[in-house]
């Protein structure tokens, strides 16, 4: 079997929530060994779930992606089952250590000495309080690469602002740039696209720094100011302001380049949005030629032959009228039928897929996209597959979503080579555990 691209690289994952763990997941997928030190005495409220031992009603009431449980049962180890955690912790290893104590910090130092990368995205000040800085890591390993992801960077007036993806996106303009064109911005759902961008670029940055280290032998400190990083996503709006001093605002599902029609239309639905069974189909016509193909595909209705709609300028002027006609066409049809019909005519179209439906999609099945994984306490489920298909070094899910402390033996005995005696004394001191301290709610 071919070696994986990052085989032999070890990453220490001091990450929380989403942006950091996404980066280290991508590195793990490419073959790096990602090791997560976890503290059995401290709960971080947005990484392995809201609480260590949440009341069931809290999970039942929370949005599914935050609170869904295997078989809707509260297990003794809910921290192993938070969907957001599970979605980011395949191909990683977990061991426990209390970094607030000197002997715990000594363990981290020993791990860093045999690692290549330390990745952290905690609130500003958290690492400093523990005494973890680039300089302290460099003492343990001069070649270490450290990545930090402060929300607004480590300098400037906002350096210590707390933020999730949704907040820094608001500051970078996204919340006012997205959403319905006729509703108050509070109609926007909380999203985390900034975590996607920073996570992906974090993995890119690590590999770029490794490339540099291969050439020079030098490690380094990388700072991803997450807000600055997110700006790229709003390129059109930013460049419009830069070039023209034009301040863009929300245009719903319309095309930022003004090609019409472009929208989301109702399809035949087995239920309602209350039961999450409403179906929608998105359609985007980009050229006059595609418009003619679209009209023919839907049976050349009289309205579509209206000369006002023949050019994009005309369609732009009358788009609401056109949208109403299209909705009349799509409303009684299956979303997949509309997709196949329009795609056959060369028009971009697809269902707006509620997540559960992707498991029934024939294309994803044909590409063998899903991966079956068994986590000891959650059982066997189908998981969304990797982001890329590498021909000769395929991404494999060799480690299911990691359980708390699952690799204590591996990390302490094989990586750090601690003696049996030291292992026992660390266990007795409360560093080595497979559960959170019972005092943590």
């Amino acid at each position: 079997m071919n070696p994986k691209p990052l085989e032999g690289i070890r990453v220490v994952d001091l990450c929380v929530v989403w942006a950091g763990p996404f980066a280290t997941m991508l590195l793990g997928d490419l073959g790096a060994e990602v090791i997560k030190p976890e503290n059995p005495h401290v709960w971080q409220p947005m990484t392995r779930g809201a609480m260590a031992r949440p009341p069931k009603i809290l999970l039942d009431r929370s949005i599914a992606w935050a609170g869904a449980l295997p078989d809707n049962e509260l297990t003794p180890r809910p921290w192993d089952h938070s969907p957001t955690f599970v979605s980011l912790y395949r191909n990683k290893r977990s061991f426990t250590v209390d970094l607030r104590r000197p002997d715990g910090m000594d363990i981290l130092r020993r791990l860093v000495a045999v690692s290549d990368v330390v990745y952290e995205n905690n609130a500003t000040g958290t690492m400093e309080k523990l005494g973890i800085t680039y300089d302290s890591l460099r003492e343990a390993n001069p070649r270490i690469i450290m990545v930090r992801v402060p929300a607004y960077g480590s300098t400037g007036p906002y350096y210590n602002a707390r933020a999730l993806g949704v907040h820094l996106e608001a500051v970078m303009g996204h919340t006012l740039l997205r959403g319905y064109d006729d509703a108050d911005p509070s109609a926007n759902t909380a999203i985390y696209s900034g975590d996607y961008l920073a996570g992906a670029q974090g993995a890119f940055a690590v590999m770029t720094a490794l490339w540099h280290r291969d050439r020079t032998g030098e490690g380094q400190l990388i700072e991803i100011g997450q807000a600055e990083n997110a700006a790229a996503m709003f390129t059109q709006a930013i460049m419009d302001y830069s070039l023209n001093r034009n301040v863009q605002s929300a245009i719903g599902n319309r095309d930022v380049n003004g090609r019409f029609p472009c929208g989301v239309y109702p399809a035949k639905s087995p239920g309602t949005s209350e039961t999450m069974d409403d179906h929608w189909v998105s359609i985007h016509v980009e050229t006059d030629e595609q418009w003619r193909a679209f009209a023919a595909a839907i049976g050349s209705p009289a309205w579509a032959a209206d000369p006002r709609f023949a050019t994009n300028d005309g369609r732009a002027e009358h788009f609401r009228e056109i949208d109403a006609h299209i909705a009349d066409f799509t409303r009684e049809r299956e979303d997949y039928d509309v997709m196949h019909l329009l795609q056959a005519a060369g028009v971009a179209c697809a269902p707006v897929l509620e997540a559960s439906r992707m498991f029934d999609d024939p294309h994803l099945r044909a590409r063998d996209f899903f991966k079956r994984q068994t986590q000891q306490t959650a059982g066997t489920h189908e998981y969304v597959g990797p982001l890329f298909k590498f021909g000769e070094t395929p991404i494999e899910f060799y480690q299911p979503p990691v359980m708390f402390g699952e690799h204590n033996d591996y990390v302490y005995r094989e990586v750090l080579k601690v003696s049996d005696q030291e292992f026992e004394s660390l266990r007795a001191a409360g560093h080595i555990a497979t559960e959170y301290d019972p005092s943590i709610p």
Binding site: P45, A64, N188, A190, M358, F388
Partner: protein, 401 residues
């Protein structure tokens, strides 16, 4: 020295996803040779344009995505074009392309062509739905892609249609993901001598993406529960998007930290009501509504910047809703040196977002503006040792500049 300045990228991509991925390479030093078809990258036709006048050398989108690259126009339908491409491939470290699947094979320049030119040369192919499968040839735009593969279904109001992100955010996300695939393929090639074809389906970069989609899928697998479409509307104590004197501010999970909220508000009498402190009563929608009424009064007396300053002091998760103008002119980002600018022969001095991240060594640099169409055709072909006759053939075919 920049980290990637010993890397040559043969870049056959156009539009947004591929060019953003190769932009990251170029910004960290790679020599990105952007091969454009006669007529150029489609992004040259997409705005915003300076002065709102379409002009292939004045697209702000194209400019941002293609700084630091060199442009060579090759017509791959011609023998000269393909021969020049083979020469470029031999001195490249990686090839990236995003033609419709099957296009390169039809032109005779598929993976085998590159493998023959240089066995360890990886080819990263970007497409909407992948190089295989029943939707291989299906079209997608940002809306269609994000609706299908991203977590758009649950965005918006329950009683209305799902609504997407702004602009082409989903494509830029996929571009960032693709930069990871490119670096992975480079490591496999350089460290292990493995050349290969990498299939990047834009759809799969979203199905597996961190912004909720992967978690909604697992939530369903675990429990059968689906993720409802709900807005962030103010949910209390505080949670969600609230109006203030000059706009809006977003709060998350502030209810987990009542003492910090009280600190932010500077301990007003109204907030000391025992019902607002009691964890059970705080769940009562009537109590929340009453609290919100007080809180709205506090908000409406303050600007978004004032509210955020108080929230920062109290260590709450919070962000004001800035316009692009607010952000563009903000002292924080100006002071950090985030913005950058460079001269361009047609656009003049252009200001734009600078480094996406700070590397202590070998980091980001802006070396050259986006290329004019075909500006470097002859230069890069000569560097690659392309025979004079072939260069003449290529330039003869090219639209004269």
């Amino acid at each position: 020295m920049q980290a990637l300045d010993n890397v040559v990228v043969l870049d056959l991509t156009h539009h947004i996803v591929g060019p953003y991925a190769t932009k990251l390479m170029a910004d960290f030093g790679a020599d990105v040779i952007k091969v454009e078809k006669p007529g150029g990258d489609i992004a040259r036709q997409l705005g915003p344009f300076q002065g709102n006048e379409p002009n292939p050398e004045k697209s702000g989108l194209f400019f941002y995505l293609n700084c630091n690259k060199r442009s060579a126009v090759l017509d791959l339908r011609t023998a000269a074009g393909r021969e020049a491409l083979a020469c470029l491939a031999r001195r490249a470290d990686i090839v990236v392309e995003n033609f419709a699947p099957g296009t390169l094979e039809r032109l005779g320049v598929g993976y085998d062509f590159f493998k023959t030119a240089k066995p360890v040369l990886p080819l990263v192919s970007i497409s909407n739905f992948g190089q295989t499968g029943p939707y291989r040839d299906y079209k997608a735009t940002e809306l269609v892609m994000y609706g299908f593969a991203g977590e758009m279904y649950s965005m918006g109001l329950t009683e209305r249609e799902p609504v997407k992100m702004a602009g082409t955010a989903a494509l830029l996300e996929s571009g960032a993901a693709t930069s990871v695939a490119i670096m992975g393929a480079l490591f496999a090639s350089k460290r292990h001598g493995i050349g290969q074809h990498v299939d990047v389906a834009i759809s799969e970069t979203h199905f597996g993406g961190v912004d909720r989609r992967h978690a909604t899928a697992i939530a369903y697998q675990f429990s059968g529960r689906k993720t409802v479409r709900v807005a962030s509307a103010a949910g209390g104590l505080p949670q969600g998007i609230y109006p203030c004197a000059d706009g809006y501010v977003d709060f998350t999970n502030a209810g987990l930290y009542p003492e910090r909220v009280d600190d932010m508000l500077d301990h007003p009498d109204w907030n000391q009501d025992p019902r607002f402190q009691d964890p059970i009563q705080r769940l009562d929608p009537f109590v929340v509504e009453e609290w919100n009424a007080y809180f709205l009064g506090w908000m409406l007396e303050r600007t978004k910047r004032d509210v955020w300053a108080e929230a920062r002091r109290a260590k709450l998760l919070c962000g004001p809703l800035f316009t692009v103008e607010d952000m563009f002119t903000d002292d924080h980002f100006r002071g950090r040196g985030f913005w950058t600018s460079i001269d361009h022969p047609d656009l003049g001095r252009v200001e734009m977002p600078g480094r996406p991240l700070l590397m202590g060594k070998g980091g980001w640099a802006l070396r050259r503006p986006a290329p004019r169409l075909g500006q470097h055709t002859e230069e890069v072909l000569r560097e690659a040792g392309v025979a004079d006759a072939v260069i003449a053939g290529v330039l003869g075919k090219e639209v004269a500049r």
